[in-house]
């Protein structure tokens, strides 16, 4: 697996933050690799295991547990809409539908699952996630690392314009 030198430096630095046990660095390393390469594939799992002196199953256990760790690439821009109670009361289900419409994402799944759904051109992907901790200002969403509160359905097209 090709880990760029700069990334490996960051990885080595991260490992030093866990002097007692290298295993603690598993999730931090997964974050770093996903940030750079977009997702975690088989090779990455084996690479991280080897780097930290673990078995691949130890890494696989984490990769499949945490929803934020992706096994496949997201769209160029990744949208997260909150589905939990207060945001749902504020209209987040409708907001999800609106995002899907404008981002051209076809939700073949019946109902709102929390799977990663992508547009055909790969520009956008969307996820219906759990509480994003801004319940008073819902419905909230994130696009990439940017956080937006009180998002109305009307402003969805202009929001997406910023992410091309």
């Amino acid at each position: 697996m090709d880990i760029p030198a700069e990334l490996e430096t960051k990885i080595d630095e991260a490992i030093t933050q866990y002097p007692v046990s290298k295993r603690s660095a598993t999730l931090p390393l997964l974050h770093l690799i996903q940030e750079q390469l977009g997702y975690i594939d088989e090779a990455a799992i084996e690479w991280v295991a080897k780097k930290l002196g673990l078995e691949p199953i130890n890494v696989l256990e984490l990769v499949t547990f945490y929803p934020m760790i992706r096994r496949e690439p997201a769209g160029k821009h990744h949208i997260r809409v909150c589905r939990t109670l207060s945001c749902a009361m504020a209209g987040s289900y409708e907001l999800l539908d609106t995002f899907c419409k404008y981002a051209r994402i076809d939700r073949q799944h019946n109902g709102h699952g929390t799977h990663l759904l992508k547009s055909e051109d790969g520009k956008y992907s969307i996820e219906f996630v759990e509480c994003l901790a801004s319940c008073g200002f819902g419905p909230v969403c994130m696009i990439n690392d940017d956080f937006y509160e009180a998002v109305s359905q009307e402003e969805v097209p202009q929001l997406l314009e910023k992410y091309q």
Binding site: I45, E55, P56, N58, E61, T64, F65
Partner: protein, 557 residues
């Protein structure tokens, strides 16, 4: 007797008991005769407390104003019961603890857990190997409800996963107790199993690049409380309630793991380990466990044979033994060699030595077998009874040291007669043509090989599950084999065959039962003084200390 301070007072279901400090609550209940149902707990593994089946009511002594336990009218502490039920598998007893194993609340807890375990469990009983030894079935009957009120769709998971070469996994049946994961990590030292995904969709898996192929993988099948992990070898072969179970030991190496042999209608279907904390704990290796299919082989030798001008012909036992005796009587001392096997029982080895003495030869040895030991159970010595062979003088301090000399003397023609007891002489470097040059080759065996094909007298014998006898393992422990199968055709017990050979040479010797043989041994060998066949018991008797010196000292006869 333990010191009084080692014992703690615990009240279980209203009765006060005393247990040793450090006893797990669930074990204390078992000792008091109160079985607490459980899935994830296993005495030889760590306790995660995740199945929640062992929930009981627990209490501690009510403290009086002086911070000491308040005593009731019976002079015992008054128990203050904790409203929330507690698991009993992960906590040790404490002084004055109270436990209720059968209250309305505990019954409600068990009923609840059973219901939860069954809502996503597939209705596979009719096709599941575990039926008959399934704790889900058993506890469902005892603690569950007859009907289901689950109206939803069950969670679907992979149904026939080849987790490794010998283990097949059904993820839907798995109750996620994690026993297998803990075993592989803590005992087999091969951290290869884990849980993937989350919540109700969690499933057991191995990493695709690294399968469950450890030599201890099948122990996970034993400890799996349900039919999730199955032995690929045994899968769909036989319902367990039809199996006759015989306690015996494994003979694939010198460890002698304690086993249960499962048979039906004289066919062996499986072997499983039996607990012996002095030998193998609760485990055995896959190699030894599966090393039995040859016993059912159609090629088994069944009828005694004697060589005539046209080759080997079937004869009666009487004729065969008479011929063997007649042939052997022609040779004196070092004209004859006895190649014995350290796969034989003590009784057979004892008699083999008697045969050697009757023949007066110094050419005798066993065929050693060595491989790599692992850190767990598998011994480097792949013969199950080297110590026995040494103890009775069939072999010397260095097993196999005499074999080269024997082979050379056969080649030079000095040795004209050989008695091969359960070994193929091509193993000691002899070729088939060399064997054919022998004037006399008496062979006792179970499967055809070059030696049996070259025999002048061929005597069919027993495989290890067909034997009654004893063996001494690498640590000097005397253990018993019990007969699980009858040998095929007219094959007979090896010890009887050897006794009959001796009888041919020296006349009657008053040995009628295997117990007689054992008695002779016990009367002669100091380490076995006072022992009898029945007194060995199911878990054996330690003959010598495991120290090197003691073991070396035990070798001399």
């Amino acid at each position: 007797m333990s010191e009084p301070t080692d014992l703690l007072n615990v009240q279980i279901d209203g009765i006060w008991y005393q247990f040793k400090k450090g006893t797990r609550v669930i074990e204390a209940c078992a000792q008091a005769g109160k079985f607490v149902p459980h899935y994830c707990y296993h005495p030889k593994l760590s306790s995660p407390g995740n199945c929640r089946m062992c929930l009981i009511e627990m209490g501690m002594p009510k403290l009086g104003p002086d911070r000491k336990p308040a005593l009731g009218p019976d002079g015992k502490p008054v128990i203050s019961w904790i409203p929330r039920p507690q698991i009993s598998c992960a906590q040790d007893i404490a002084e004055g603890m109270g436990v209720r194993t059968d209250s309305p609340l505990t019954r409600e807890c068990r009923n609840g857990v059973m219901e939860f375990l069954l809502i996503n469990h597939p209705l596979d009983c009719p096709i599941c190997d575990q039926a008959g030894e399934c704790q889900l079935q058993e506890y469902s009957v005892e603690f569950g409800t007859a009907g289901s009120r689950f109206l939803e769709e069950k969670v679907k998971k992979p149904k026939r996963v080849e987790l490794g070469p010998r283990v097949t996994l059904d993820d839907e049946r798995c109750i996620l107790c994690s026993r297998c994961i803990r075993f592989m990590k803590e005992v087999a030292h091969d951290d290869v199993l884990g849980f993937a995904s989350r919540g109700s969709h969690t499933y057991l898996t191995a990493h695709p690049g690294k399968l469950l192929d450890s030599n201890y993988s099948l122990n996970t099948v034993d400890i799996c409380p349900v039919g999730a992990l199955t032995s690929t070898d045994f899968r769909f072969k036989m319902r367990v309630w039809f199996l006759k179970e015989t306690k015996s030991i494994c003979t694939s190496c010198a460890t002698g793991c304690n086993t249960i042999i499962g048979t039906r209608e004289n066919v062996i279907y499986r072997q499983t380990p039996r607990e012996n904390n002095a030998v193998n704990s609760d485990w055995m290796c896959d190699y030894g466990r599966l090393n039995f299919h040859y016993i059912n082989s159609a090629e088994r030798l069944k009828i005694p044979q004697v060589r005539d001008s046209q080759g080997l012909a079937n004869v009666s036992w009487r004729s065969a033994l008479a011929k063997a005796g007649e042939e052997l009587k022609q040779y004196q001392k070092d004209g004859v060699a006895v190649v014995a096997s350290a796969k034989m029982t003590n009784e057979e080895l004892w008699l083999a030595k008697k045969l050697i003495d009757s023949l007066g030869t110094t050419y005798h040895d066993i065929v050693p077998r060595f491989g790599e030991a692992d850190d767990l159970l598998m011994s480097a010595d792949r013969n199950p009874n080297t110590l026995g062979a040494q103890l009775f003088g069939v072999t010397g301090e260095h097993p196999g040291a005499k074999l080269q000399e024997i082979a050379e003397s056969i080649g030079s023609g000095e040795i004209k007669a050989v008695v091969a007891l359960g070994e193929d002489l091509t193993q000691i470097g002899l070729t088939a043509s060399q064997l054919k040059k022998l004037s006399t080759l008496i062979v006792v065996g179970i499967l055809p090989n070059e030696t049996t094909r070259s025999a002048s007298v061929l005597l069919p014998a027993c495989a290890f599950p067909e034997k009654r006898g004893t063996m001494i393992n690498i640590k000097g422990r005397l253990q018993r084999l019990n007969r699980a199968l009858q040998p095929p055709g007219e094959a007979r017990d090896d010890w009887e065959i050897i006794r009959d050979l001796i009888q041919q040479l020296t006349g009657s010797n008053g040995i009628y039962l295997i117990e007689d043989v054992f008695k002779q041994i016990a009367d002669t060998i100091p380490e076995m003084k006072g022992l009898s066949f029945s007194r060995i018991g199911d878990t054996g008797v330690q003959l010598v200390d495991e120290t090197e010196e003691a073991r070396a000292a035990a070798v001399t006869v």
